[in-house]
Amino acid sequence: MGVMKRMSGILQAKTNKMLDKAEDPRESLDLSYQHLLENLQKVRRSVADVTTAKKRIELQATQLQGQADKLQQQAKDALGQNREDLAREALARRAALEPQLAELQTQHQQVADQETKLIVTSKNLQTQVDAFRTKKETMKATYTAAEAQTKIGEAVSGISESMGDAGMSVQRAQDKIDSMQARAGAMDELLASGALTDLTNPVDDIQAQLDQVSATSTVDDELAALKAEIGSGAPAQIGPAEGEAPKGPGGAPA
């Protein structure tokens, strides 16, 4: 037996579980309608769950991206101060964040797909709820005909199959959210523990070294200017006239 027939059997088995063995077929119409309403609620809750999960991933991705951007900027600053070693370190740390970002993007796509599908399922079910409400009353009114009994059976089976399908869609989305939540939890812990944030903390080691380089180079400049003044007695950059009052670094008036 092929996959399609076997799938049909599986859906049928799920459907049969849902079908109420009501004495009166008219009663089964009302019960099916109740199930349909509950089903719709379940799908709507699932849409909300998926949306929440998606937002959580977006938040994490924003945090990680911010850290990556900061490391990129630090690499630039380091190069500006001729500290290639520091730039290399910053870029290496940024590269280490890439797989995490890529993973988040994949998760985001998966969850967004589930969201789109569930919204369609929810809309279809809503249409069915509205149509079934009218149809069941019509069927109940014409119930006396033997033909109507068969029609009720068909309609109830059809609607149950739709609910079976919707149930499988919800289960599938839930499975995806569950596995994603576990990974998202691990990522949250990682972000909170500082294992990632320490890298780009304002007082992190790269930043501290960059700040130090910057401070050292200012001192070096000033030292050089002073040495030039004292050493030659007539430093070129300070001016040709002897006996003049010493000037500050960079030629600014004292």
């Binding site: 037996m1 092929g2 996959v3 399609m4 027939k5 076997r6 799938m7 049909s8 059997g9 599986i10 859906l11 049928q12 088995a13 799920k14 797909d113 599908k117 369609v120 399922t121 279809n124 079910l125 249409t127 069915q128 509205d130 149509a131 079934f132 149809k135 068909e154 309609a155 089976s157 059809g158 609607i159 199959e161 739709s162 399908d165 499988m168 869609s169 599938r172």
Partner: protein
Amino acid sequence: MIVRILGEAQFDVADTDKSTLDNLEHALNAAVEGHDETAFASALASLIDAVRRTGTPLAPDSFTSSDLVVPFSDATLDETKALLEEPGGERT
């Protein structure tokens, strides 16, 4: 015959198009049996494409049972195999 694509919709496919679906389903069956992930993805995509192309979508309020059911369009091989082990999915 009525064909349902899980998570999407039902389609009314003419009996004259059944052989087309049968051929595509053979490829899907073989991919499942041979546990070939790549072949499975392409066979499933072709089958779903054929159902959409040859079938007429049923309105969501038609309340009809399906003769055949196609897995979710983005189903993985592992997921499908697990599903086929559920009650009602027996081979015979």
